[in-house]
Structure formats: C-alpha cells, structure tokens
Symmetry: C2
Subunit: 452 residues, 2 copies
C-alpha cells in the first residue's frame, strides 16, 4: 500500500523508455498503469513531443483528462495536434473555462475559434468572458463559476446553494456574498456555515472580503492570495461586481510560472515554454541567442574602453593580469545586489518609490564589501608584487564594489519603473555594464597612482 | 466599499512613517486601522525592527494574532523580544503547532523550552511531535490536527466528525480515511461527503490518497502538493500511519521560501532572513561577504593563468582588448545553462540520472551558439583588425561557448549528486570557473594561430 512518490521514479522512467522504443503500446500502458496523476504528469513531461503523444493515448480516458488539465498550455497544444478532431473537441469541452483560455492562446486562430464555437452555450459565454481580459490580467486566470449567497439568506439556505453547485463550481469551500446586482459584500467560508445554526443569517456570518480587480496583474493577485492565506480570492470588475474567483491552486500555478520567467531572465535567457528535456535544441538556442547577442554587442563597449587605455596597458602589462579578477568581482557584487532587489520587488518588499533608500543601502553595503576585499587585495598584492600596485588593486576593488552594488540595486527598480520586467535588467546585463564601468575605474586609478 | 489592495499603499506607508517618527501611538494605530491583514503585513514588513515592534503593539489583539502568524519566523522572533513574558506566552499558545516549530528554532534554547513547558498538555504533545522531525523534512511543516474517518462510517457520521472539529483542525475540506491503527487508506473531499446520501459508506466515497512520508524534504513535498493540485496532502510515518497533513497554503509558503533561497544563491549570496528594507546593513554584508571572498579567491586562478601567458600578452597587447568580452560571453553562456538546469532540477524536470542527456544537449546548444557568435566575431574582427586575429576570436568564441554551456549544465547536477543545494554551484561560481578555463582556451588558440 505504501509507496514514496519518487521511490520508483527512475525505474518507471526506464521501463517507459524501453516500452516506447519497442513500439509496444500495451507495454507503455502497463508502465504507466501503477502511477497516480502527479507521477504520470512527471513521467510524461520528460518525454519528447512524439513519445508523449504516444504515451498519452494509452491512458484510460478519465486519467487522460485529469493529466491533460495539469499540463502547461504549450504542452497541451502539442498533445492536441496528435489527436483526432472529435477527441480534441471532447478534451477541450471537459476543461474548465479558465484552463481553456491559455490553451486557446497557444492554438492557431482558426482552430481556436472552431473549438470555442463547438462549446455549449453557457460554456461558450463563460470562456468568452475570461478571454475578454488582457493577457497578464488575473481575469484570465480566474474561475467564473462561483457559489454566491445573499446577505439575507439563512445559513441553511446558503448550504443548500453549495449542495446544488457541488459539480460545477471550481471551489465550494468559500462563498461570495453579493447584493442583487452582484456587488461583492463579503465572504463566508463553508467552515463557518457548517458551524452556524441553520437559522443564522449570512449577513452575520460573513467577513469583509479580500479581493482584487480583474485587470490586476495575475502575479500580484497570486501573491496577494498567498499573503492573505485564503483558499479563494474574489475577483471584481471596475464597479465592484463579482466576476469570478482565483483559487489557491491556480495562484500556485501562476506563481510557479512567474518564478520560471524570473529565474530564466536572471540567467539572461527567455523562459523555456516546455519542460527542459521535452524542449527541442533549436528552441533552447532560440531562448538564449538574442540575449547573448545583445550582451555580446554591449560587451564591445569593453573592447573600446580597453582600446582607449591600450598605451597604459602596453607600458604596464602587469595591469592586464588583474582584469578578469577585478571585473569578475564587480560582476559578482552587482549580481548579488540585483538578485536581492529583483526578488524584493517581486515580493512587494521594495517598491519603486524606495529607490533612494535602496541605492543608499546598496552604496553602504558595497563600500563595506569593497573595504574588506580591497584591504585584503592591497595586502596580498603589495606582498607579491609592489605597494603601488597593491594600492591600485585595493582602491579599484573599493570603487568597483561600491559602484557595482549601487548599479545592481538601481537597475531592477529602473526596469520596474519603465514597466519592463525587472528581471530583464538581469544579472548578465548588469555584469556587462559593470565590466565596462569597472575597467574605467581601474585604469583611471592606475594612471593616477602609477603616474602613467 | 471597493478598494484595490495596493491603491493607497504609498500613502499609507508615508502616513505610518510620519506617525512613527512623531512617536504618537494613536496616530500609528489610526494609520493601520483601515488595512486588512495582508496589507498590515506588507506595511509592517517594510519597517525596521524597532518601528515594527512599536506599530505591532498598537494593533487590536485579534488582528495582532492574525498578523503575527503570517510573519516569517525570524521576524516573529524579533517581535517577541519586544513583548512581556505573559504576552509572549499568549501569542505562542495561539499559534498552530506547525507554526510554533520554526519560531522555536529562532529563539534561544532556554526561552524555547520555557515556552513549550508553558503550553497545555495536548498542545505540548503536538508541538513536540512536529519538533521531532529533521529540520528540512515536511514533518516539520505539517499540521498534526487532521479530521479522520473510518471506511465503515456512513457519510453522515463523517460529516458529524467534521462538525465536531471545525475549530481545531487546520483544514476540514479533506478527510483522511484510516484504519484502527491510523494506517492511511484513502481521502474523501468534504465536497464528496456533501454530495453523498447520508447512508453511503466512506469506503465507497474515498479515493486512493496522494501522500508523502514525513521525512521527505519539505520543498519536494510542497511541489508534489502543487503538482497533484490537492488542498491537503496526508503525511505518513515509515509504517504508513497518518501523522499529519500538509495544507496547500503551507505548501505555498514552503515554495516561496525555497524560491527565496534559490534566487539568492543564484546571485551568489545567502538568502536574507527578513524583508530587504527591514534587514540591517550588517546582515546584508554578512549574507554576501563569504561568497564574495570565496569567489575572489577562486578568481586569483585567473591572475595565475594570465601570469603564465604574460609574454604572449606583452608581445601582442591587442589580445588583452578582447579579454573582458570573451570571458563575459563565456560567463553569460554558462549562466544561461546553469540557471535553466538548476530550475529544471528544482521542478523535477531533470534528475541527476539525466546527466549525460543534459551535458550532450548543452554541448549541442553551446556549439550552435558559439558558431553564431564566433561567425559574427570572426567577420567583425577581421574587418576592423586582421583576419588572423578574427580567426582567433571566432574560434575562441566557439570553444568558450561550448565549454561554458557544458559546465553550466553539469555543475548543478554535480551539486545535487553531492547533496549540496544545486544553486550553491551558482552563476557566479560558474562564471569564475568559466573565466579561467576561457582564458586558457583563448591563449592556446592565439598561440597556435598567431604562432607566438
């Protein structure tokens, strides 16, 4: 009865790979049969697009649907291209409205509109409502099917409402209380309804709602849901009318994909849209090449800086020995600051208004780090080489660390203010900038101290 | 009635700052009064430790408790030092057992044991049970208070069980079904209990449970909870007996703190334990300095490499112009690969067994990127400088990109295999390694092509 979720993972993966390469479909089905939904998902996500389509079609119908709705939209779209039209329509109509929308975004427009037309009337209306919100708005991710109650209802009536909608509603564990024009008045957890005597009024049980406007950025809404520790976050329109709810599991998904994006950008690439092993090489190259080219072009700045100081370098070749160390340290200091501030912005711990506070703090942190490293660099270089060279290295480390920390703190805030993803002003970007600026600091200090 | 959660954030922050600096406590209370729990949390997290303690004490008692349990443990510990013993004991006993444990880890051992002794008998037993699990295990984060049912119960009996435990249980929306020795047999969502006729048996309603062992790493358990899309994940001991549940909101918190850690390490620093603006400068320096020193020591390797090739450099000073660009590009390519693989490991998309697959893929990606960049570098350098120099730059870019992508893919897996956090083999670490290796590639190619 007892099995750990990851215990037999590698064995299953090996079995599945063998079965797929043998082309024996019933062996594939047998390899997948003992797995639960999450395990099936994990195994299928590792496969190539074609193998995944093959394996997917061996799943029993109910399991196939459960697995399908948990895939990310690009993977769902890949799977649909391998199915027949009738199967596609069936899978599509089994999805909930908020799961249909990201999938539609992935499909060719003609396919998308045919699928929407094929839905039942109510389903089509719900899907179209969600489709109406801008791409990154929480309205796109909310579930439009909500259990509502009126304030004048008795607890027992509200409970009956819950019972009637057990099959349709995305979540039945929190009820939204609205007036007759759907204005949101409060929320009542099912827990409190169960606790109440049947004749207590909803108005006496409800609490003031946490809620978000439907046009709010989905990531912000999801963090709000997480911070408020609620299972269900009501979503309202500009007039305060209830239009849907964000459930905590959808919030989790939104946050996970936001982290994917931030993580990729902080490494200087675009996020992959599919699991790593399932992503073709050319898609990985595409996700990285633009950034790499932009950064390499930016780095030609360093060639120009070096060119300006070529005579200094020719006179004192020893100076060139320290270039990788100095710009590397600058890059590291800048990265540390940028990563911290990007994360603090994402969490809402820091806001663009705090720019002066942040830069002041980072200058102090950078100067302290620079004093430590610079002191150490001065001593070591003075012993191994000469005291004047030690002075140059020490002062440069102090200058570079201070400059890099300040730049690393400033850039993400600048990005956020310019409505660019702060992570786009990412670590490699900052390294490139800090490299050029650090070289200038280095050569100016060297010219001054060594009198070149 | 309608307000957006972040609309008046800056205004409130300004009001609060003024009130705090005026020392007028009723003004502080008034500034906080209109906020809900999540907003109060956001505002307090931005304050210094002392200001936060002052503001916290102006909160009404119920609100204070709600806010307290949402803070991270280090902030909770800071707050407790500002309260009187009686208040501390009161706050502590109001926490749920799984929230008490991380707080205890933050407190001096004498304070911690006094607090545990002060709990009621049942509470003490529950807290001690959670305390018994290793630090990063999910057992530490689970809630030991679970609503259970027996398979032979009727649905109505199970519902009565829920009603009895509305006040104690962390979640009442999923029941765990166990036998008489608490072996986990299945789960029943409350939704299905409500749907069932009162006389249906729990055995016919329950589904096979997704569950995790209590010793499983908390981050893995939280991701499993997110992937399985369950509100409540049962946690079992080695014999398969139910010991608690992980709720989705606790999973969210675990993932958020794991992301904090990964994000900080990918930037080459330790995670801050408090919100950025609330972290003293010296703590920020401490989180960064060790990494920076280690990396700077590593970078002395580059000085040695440069030293070896000093005569080559003295002969052809023009070679030094390209050093920052070449090692920068290598660092960027390595970062891209390392970030992708670190994230894929965290998500479970890649496992240590996949090492050969990953490195093969990264070599191909790196070589393709190197061909593109190298081709471009060859053309531009040949035009501006000379064809032989263009050849050196082009070949070096090809070699550096391939090597860097392979190293960036390999390192995180190496880290995971050595049971080190893969993010510790982080971007700055890889940059430092790639810098030294890239320089060797550069000078070897230059010597061969230019015949130095």
């Amino acid at each position: 009865m007892i099995k750990s979720p990851s215990l037999s993972f590698d064995t299953t993966a090996a079995l599945l790979a063998q079965a797929l390469s043998s082309g024996n479909l019933s062996r594939v089905a047998r390899a997948l049969q003992p797995l639960d939904v999450a395990e099936t998902l994990e195994q299928l996500e590792r496969l190539s697009t074609i193998d995944r389509a093959v394996a997917y079609r061996t799943l029993p119908k109910d399991r196939a649907l459960e697995v399908f709705e948990r895939f990310d939209a690009p993977v769902q779209a890949d799977l649909l291209t391998g199915l027949q039209d009738a199967q596609v329509a069936e899978v599509f109509s089994a999805l909930s409205p908020e799961d249909r929308v990201p999938l539609l975004d992935e499909l060719p427009a003609t396919v998308a509109s045919r699928l929407v037309q094929g839905l039942g009337e109510e389903d089509r209306a719900l899907t179209t409502a969600v489709l109406g919100y801008p791409r990154r708005a929480v309205g796109r991710y909310m579930s439009p099917r909500v259990v509502t109650a009126r304030p004048e209802m008795m607890a027992s009536e509200a409970l009956d409402r819950v019972r009637q909608q057990l099959d349709e509603a995305e979540s039945v564990y929190v009820l939204a209380v609205t007036d007759s024009s759907r204005h949101l008045l409060g929320v009542v957890p099912l827990r409190d309804l169960l606790r109440a005597g049947g004749t207590e009024q909803v108005a006496d049980l409800m609490t003031p709602p946490s809620f978000v406007p439907a046009t709010l950025n989905a990531e912000e809404a999801a963090r709000y849901c997480a911070d408020a520790k609620v299972l269900v976050l009501p979503v309202v329109d500009a007039e305060g009318r209830l239009v849907g709810v964000l459930t905590v599991d959808d919030a989790l998904r939104i946050l996970e994909s936001a982290e994917n994006e931030d993580s990729a950008r902080s490494g200087g690439s675009e996020p992959l849209r599919r699991p790593y092993l399932a992503t073709p090489i050319r898609s990985i190259v595409r996700a990285r090449v633009v950034w790499l080219l932009v950064l390499a072009l930016g780095a030609t700045l360093t060639v120009q800086v070096m060119d300006i100081f070529e005579t200094t370098l020719a006179e004192q070749v020893v100076l060139s020995l320290f270039i990788p160390l100095l710009i590397g340290t600058g890059g590291n200091t800048g990265n540390q600051a940028a990563t911290t501030i990007t994360r603090a912005l994402a969490l809402g711990d820091v806001r663009p208004r705090d720019v002066v506070k942040v830069v002041t703090r980072e200058v102090r942190v950078g100067a302290l780090l620079g004093l430590l490293l610079g002191g150490l660099g001065f001593v070591i270089t003075s012993v191994i080489f000469t005291v004047p060279l030690g002075t140059v290295i020490g002062l440069t480390l102090l200058g570079v660390c201070t400059m890099a920390a300040a730049a690393g703190g400033l850039m993400p805030i600048l990005g956020k203010t310019l409505k660019v993803d702060p992570a786009v002003f990412s670590n490699p970007f900052i390294s490139t900038f800090v490299d050029a600026a650090g070289l200038i600091i280095y050569f100016l200090i060297a010219s001054a101290v060594l009198g070149i």
